[in-house]
């Protein structure tokens, strides 16, 4: 069963635990600026929104890469960057409509979410379950249940 990151922005408090977990997992340092997941604050609206790669099936980044440095991970379905193949041309960063693949000045390569190989650190670190890792075919399940709960079919005795 493939799984997906499911983000419920309404539960996010903007604490950035996810960004630190991500940077620690991937870079061995607590460093939000090197995180593959970003939390955006919309101050006037009072909203916090975590955002990261959706792992498109037909991934623009993968197709745009001239050196085939982005490959499908057969276990998780994530699109992973092969660091030793990447030449840092950044074409993928232009092709991604969501902006979720980015250049890393320190390494000269691009970085993106790889679902941590199947155990995403951001989801484990999130204190409010704003980020969860669920069955890819049923990311709408919780929302369906919520609406189902509003159905008025109380048994009449």
């Amino acid at each position: 069963m493939q799984k997906s990151l499911l983000i419920d922005a309404g539960k996010c408090t903007g604490c950035l635990q996810c960004e630190m977990a991500c940077s620690y997992e991937n870079e061995n340092v607590f460093n939000p600026s090197k995180s593959r997941i970003k939390v955006f604050t919309f101050h006037d609206e009072g909203r916090f929104v975590p955002y990261t790669c959706t792992q498109c099936d037909e991934a623009w980044c993968l197709q745009a890469c001239p050196v085939d440095a982005i490959v499908v991970n057969s276990k998780t379905g994530s699109k992973d960057v092969l660091e030793d193949v990447c030449v840092g041309c950044k074409v993928c960063t232009i092709s991604c409509p969501f902006g979720t693949i980015n250049y890393n000045q320190d390494s000269g390569k691009v970085i993106k979410c790889d679902l941590c190989g199947g155990d995403p650190a951001c989801a484990s670190a999130c204190p409010t379950e704003a980020i969860t890792y669920v069955d890819a075919d049923a990311t709408g399940l919780a929302r369906m249940r919520e609406w189902a709960g509003k159905t008025d079919n109380t048994a009449t005795a």
């Binding site: 408090t13 630190m20 977990a21 600026s33 090197k34 006037d44 609206e45 909203r47 916090f48 204190p127």
Partner: protein, 618 residues
Amino acid sequence: MAWTKKVLRVNLTEGTCIGEPLNMEWADQYLGQRGLATRYMCEEVDPTCDALSSENKMIMATGPLTGTMASTGGRYSVICKSPLTGAIACSNSGGFIGAELKNAGWDMIIFEGKSPDPVYLHLENEKAELLPAGELWGKSVWEADEMLHKIHQDPQMRIAAVGRAAEEGCLYSAIINDLHRAAGRSGVGTVMASKNLKAVCVRGTRGVGNIKDPARFMKSTAEQKQVLAENAVTGQGLPTYGTQVLMNVINELGALPTRNMQEVKFEGAHNISGEAMLEPRASDGKANLTTNAGCFACTIACGRISTIDQTHFSVENKPQYWGNSGGLEYEAAWAMGTDTGVDDLDAVTYVNFLCNEDGIDPITFGATVAAAMEMFKDGDLTTEHTGGVELEFGSAKALAWAAEVTCRGEGFGRDLGLGSRRLCEKYGRPELSMTVKSQEFPAYDPRGIQGMGLAYATSNRGACHLRGYTVASEVLGIPEKTDPLVTEGKAGLVKAFQDATAAVDSAGLCVFTTFAWSLENIAPQIDAACEGDWSVDKLAEIGERIWNLERDFNNKAGMTSADDTLPQRLLTEPANTGPAEGKVCGLDEMLPEYYELRGWTTEGELTDDVRGKFNLPV
């Protein structure tokens, strides 16, 4: 480790920014943040100096856990000599700039001297420069924040700034970071503005590494986050209601100081409570509270993000206040609501926005307005002084006006900007100032919560709830329940809270964790992160060392045991109702025992034994 081991020294007179190594011998004795910066202050600043002169220094300091995944590990403090109290000032703030400073590779910034012209510090990792702030001077914090983000084209830059109040000399000006988090108390913003320093902008992309035992640190911090999540206060009460969970609780207890502490219960408490912030309003069906919010790394998320009713008089035709911003915390709601007798939630939220927009301490401001209202009632102040405004208890319009003129330093606002001690002296009623060491009380009446009376009287930065929060024990039963109405045993309780809190602050953690955590929960996290052995005993010793060092600074500044007292009202006028009815604060039953437990002389001076035991500078 966990420290970056680097200090940025900014000499504003010379216009230089120079890095130097952190004194690791002191870090071992004082941990970081509050403690470590105080050690630097004691070394470099004459405690008798004029707080607003170039002799004073201002230190922005992080702790070893700031910028890490330890829950609430995002705190920084501003340490300097206070212009309000003349004592050591240490104001702690959350938000994000503390962690950003650490991410840029610095444990602290020491600001010294005074710039000839307005400047701001722009810090990007190793690169630090002072830039002209001429165009920013005269702007509010919110305006300056927007302008700086535009100038540098960097949406991720974190900013701490002072507003117009600080520039105009309001003695309780705050430093506001991330738009609505504040190093709020004791006038640290006034000191910053006195140095012609408008803002500190930080962008850090280096990250915080150097963790001694990363695997153990990740395991320990995860376990302790679980403890916070499972605790009723940190897991439920604070996220749902924020610190405002206390308004109705303390009112029921008859310990909610009302109308300049004349009474101990407020009939309008519910209207400005955490519960009221969740109730839909008539105009648009929305609640005052939009969402809760966390500071950097915080898994509690007690922060309030609120809106004001757009139809409310305070924001009519002022769309700049229609969006969301930092909402009411308990102390602010108490000072600007209960203490002034105003139970209008939108008015108090509006005034709270103004406190953030121009950087003033809502506790001191609200309590100063309350004192002014009592003088107005008694005829010491009249509409001649206020320019026609009826400064009456309960008047939301008068409160809103008072905030506007204080934030801009206009007219009577300049008098209000003095704080209540100087204001009441000026108008001949010194006894109406509810202060210790010239700093106003927070929201707990020491007639109904006796331990807080001693905590206020002995707090090293003047009246304050965050130096020894015995409310935890006396009201909430943490770590164990004590009777709030008795004085027996409170000397020891206050000392224990004071010492532990000094250690928590110095780690870079938030004191609110201590509703669920003791040093037993904190020591393993520090020990996994920092080089050396960090036991509970060592942290307790560090806390006590810091307390003594702060006290020593104050004594050298000229303070004596005569300053460890409370206003006569609390010592002689009994509570008029509730469980504490008929009681005054029994300070004199607690203070001598407290000095004894501290090992001080009966005059409250440090002895050579104490100095030796804690290796304090002479």
